[in-house]
């Protein structure tokens, strides 16, 4: 789509910026990358009343043009980048009318960059209700910009905002807010002169942010560094002076234009809710109840749609294999691509539910209270109050949980959270655990109440949490902090969730997951399919030939003959050859080559284990028949010793391997996507494999 005008949305967090963005652009939005900067860029298109098309860019919410997190550094980079043409034609600054003072700081900074500005005074209904009266005409006159009162939540004032955008001036007409040159006159003058810049605030920002702004050349950046030395420019002192000056301007402005009652109505309600939700006892009880609910919802609500998706794919596979002529291409399509696709799609319900619930918790303001309550505990182990949510979500699936770590501003805290989340026992491990536990742990009760199998499963879940926390604690000492950690965080007023935003988040995250993780999963499952379906040389042909001899065809039923052929082909396939190659490595863990194949194929996704076991032990029917897989595994014996393969030691060793190993292509893909550097998923894969091998080895040696 061709845009006639580029509009950037700028505002504090919790001001309804994303709601406004969704209203303006509808589903007509896309997420891309800012050139040269590894932060997502959300853009969309909006038809203006005069027929022109506006490209809307949603910049990350920030309290100030001075960045505190990587996300926030985008704001100035975009507004400054004349070279790459990122700079917008118009900026819409969104202000929360019920909390103007702090919101106006960002406005005054943006306004002084002298890019045309329009103010959207959001939540005007909330401020009206709270008894705040704003003289909008005088406010607009004092700022020198159009001010449009809106309520993004109630979709009011949007048409007026659109026409204000359409008819906005092409030159910046806003009043100066503070005397910028007075902050650091010498360096501002010199930068203006040397870099041919006419805006003093822009020059001052370059003095502050020249190291992070991509559009400056190294020589220019070095030159600014030199000027800083020469004029002994101290960035933080200058920033402090600027902030004080700006708040003086804001206080004067608000004194003339806004009348406020003593306590805001909304806030006193919020206070009463907080008394319960952050209470010493009830606070934690409610928090754990909510966690239980999320956990339950992810499992129970997703069960039905997940089966539906699986059935749909099974139906699709059968239709294709029936209608198309048989051959390797159809095999690849059915057993490779479609099987891989269904492995991706089946996670959509869990992802959608998890994200819906998380976005409700965020939208209402509860999430910041959880952070507030948990920060002290989490900090002790190298995490952050905000790490609680991804870790809990990890019980369902690490993929959406890792995506949700974006809320963590502190780089080190976020990286540690990403690194340990895959250790939490996700739902894909559940079928593996239940199969193996049922195999070796007797189904009886101890102390009347506790079922042994249930206890074993609970122990696996506890182990996952303990290991995640332990690894986080170790990483706290390994990773170097890039910045000082802060916990200066707004506790927003409680609000009803915006259901449309919840819907958008569900849609957005599911789409990202399918597109990003999907590519990897499909690729891996195609490779696996090839490895399982082909063998070196003409081994497969020889097997077919051998079993077409009359001694086999006469003595065996066609069914059992097929099973024997399939299992012999598997042994001689590339996957089987590979299994035999790695056997010496996994032997100390108690695994044979067949388990080796299951382990290797499980690196695509853990739940592949049951299916592979089913194929290897030539069970007919589908992998869901746990009973029959279990029976086959139970009766499986080692041909050399005659002893059963799946002893207690082997089963627990296997469970340890699945507990620690990074056997999930989607997680690897999403960690890469979130960190934008292959080193992170590689390091994660390495440390988890080492842990898995060590834990399996110890458990096997002890139980043998």
């Amino acid at each position: 789509m061709k845009a006639d005008i580029r509009v950037a949305l700028v505002g504090n967090p919790n001001t309804g910026k994303s709601t406004l963005f969704n209203i303006l652009t509808g589903l007509n939005q896309k997420i891309g990358n800012f050139p040269g900067i590894t932060v997502d860029k959300k853009t969309g298109f909006c038809q203006l009343p005069d027929g022109r098309m506006a490209e809307i860019i949603d910049l990350p919410g920030t309290y100030s043009i001075y960045p505190k997190s990587k996300d926030e550094s985008i704001v100035f980079s975009v507004l400054a980048d004349k070279a790459k043409g990122l700079i917008p034609d118009l900026i819409v600054v969104i202000l929360d009318a019920s909390n103007l003072k702090r919101n106006l700081l960002l406005y005054t900074q943006i306004a002084d960059l002298k890019i045309p500005v329009v103010v959207a005074l959001n939540m005007i209904d909330v401020s009206d209700k709270a008894g705040i009266t704003i003289d909008i005409d005088l406010f607009a006159k004092k700022l020198g910009v159009p001010v449009v009162p809106i309520s993004a939540r109630k979709i009011k004032g949007i048409d007026q905002l659109k026409s204000t955008i359409a008819y906005a001036n092409k030159v910046a007409l806003q009043q100066d807010t503070i005397d910028v040159e007075a902050i650091a006159p010498q360096i501002i003058g010199q930068i203006k002169n040397d870099l041919k810049i006419d805006n003093p605030y822009f020059a001052l920002q370059l003095a502050h942010q020249h190291e992070t702004v991509s559009y400056l050349s190294t020589t220019e950046s070095d030159h600014i560094e030199q000027l800083e030395q020469e004029f002994s420019f101290h960035s933080q002192k200058a920033q402090a002076a600027e902030t004080i000056a700006r708040y003086n301007f804001i206080n004067d402005l608000l004194y003339d234009t806004v009348k406020k009652p003593e306590t805001a109505h909304d806030e006193s309600i919020s206070n009463r809710i907080d008394k319960i939700l952050t209470h010493k006892v009830f606070g934690f009880v409610i928090f754990f109840a909510i966690l239980m609910f999320i956990f339950q919802a992810i499992f129970s609500w997703s069960a039905y749609p997940m089966t539906l998706i699986e059935d749909l794919f099974i139906w699709l596979q059968s239709v294709i294999s029936k209608t198309l002529p048989p051959g390797p291409l159809v095999n690849l399509l059915v057993d490779g691509v479609l099987a891989g696709l269904s492995g991706v799609m089946v996670f959509i319900p869990q992802i959608a539910i998890l994200f819906a619930l998380i976005s409700i918790l965020e939208d209402t303001g509860y999430m910041s209270r959880v952070t507030f309550m948990m920060d002290k505990v989490m900090r002790k182990v190298g995490l952050n109050g905000k790490s609680v949510v991804p870790l809990i979500g990890g019980f369902a699936c690490a993929v959406p949980s890792i995506m949700s770590t974006r809320n963590i501003e502190n780089w080190k805290d976020r990286m540690i959270t990403i690194m340990v989340t895959p250790l939490v026992a996700c739902s894909a491990r559940l079928p593996v655990y239940t199969l193996l536990i049922a195999l070796v742990v007797p189904n009886r009760n101890v102390w009347w109440l506790f079922n042994l199998q249930g206890l074993a499963l609970t122990a696996m879940y506890l182990l996952s949490i303990v290991s995640a926390i332990t690894v986080a604690f170790v990483m706290k000492f390994i990773l170097k902090a890039r910045e000082r950690g802060y916990f200066i965080m707004e506790l927003p007023v409680y609000r009803m969730p915006r259901w449309k935003n919840v819907g958008f988040t569900m849609y957005d995250r599911s789409k990202t997951f399918v597109l990003q993780a999907g590519k990897v999963i499909i690729a891996v499952s195609i490779i696996l399919w090839v490895l399982k379906s082909y063998g070196p040389g003409n081994t497969f042909a020889r097997i077919d030939q051998k079993y077409s001899q009359s001694q086999y065809t006469k003595t065996m039923t066609p069914d059992s003959l097929n099973k024997v052929v399939a299992s012999e082909k598997l042994e001689t396939s590339y996957a089987g050859v590979f299994g035999h190659v790695i056997e010496p490595v996994i032997k100390p863990l108690g695994f044979d080559w067949k388990i080796g194949i299951a382990l290797i194929s499980s690196f695509a996704a853990r739940e592949v284990f049951v299916g592979t076991m089913a194929t290897i032990y030539s069970v007919e029917g589908d992998a869901d028949k746990l009973e029959s897989v279990q029976q086959k595994m139970h009766s499986a014996t080692n041909p050399n010793t005659g002893q059963p393969v799946f002893t207690l030691a082997v089963a627990f060793s296997l469970m340890m391997f699945y507990a620690f190993a990074m056997q999930c292509a989607s997680t690897v893909a999403v960690v890469y996507r979130e960190t934008k550097n292959w080193r992170w998923p590689a390091a994660q894969f390495a440390y988890m494999t080492v842990l898995a091998y060590t834990a399996s080895f110890i458990v096997y040696t002890l139980l043998k």
């Binding site: 100030s64 907080d274 507030f372 920060d375 002290k376 802060y486 200066i488 707004e490």
Partner: protein
């Protein structure tokens, strides 16, 4: 007196800061000299704390609060 020494419900007026880097962040969030701060609540485990300032609620760690000197 430091902000971290106030009890829940007590108020104080910001005088100055002992940590420049922290002060820059705090001032951006509306904790400026001359501004009144009320302690809204303390987290169940004793840290961080929530304060009311500039018309909204802000949470910060006790250590961060100890860099704010009151009048």
């Amino acid at each position: 007196m430091k902000l971290s020494q106030l009890e829940v419900g007590e108020t104080g007026i910001v005088k100055e800061f002992t940590d420049l880097e922290m002060s820059v962040k705090l001032m951006e969030m509306g904790c400026l000299p001359g501004e009144e701060i009320r302690i809204s609540r303390i987290a169940p485990l004793g840290d961080p704390i929530a304060i009311h300032v500039s018309g909204y609620q802000l949470s910060l760690r006790k250590f961060e609060a100890s860099t704010i000197i009151l009048q």
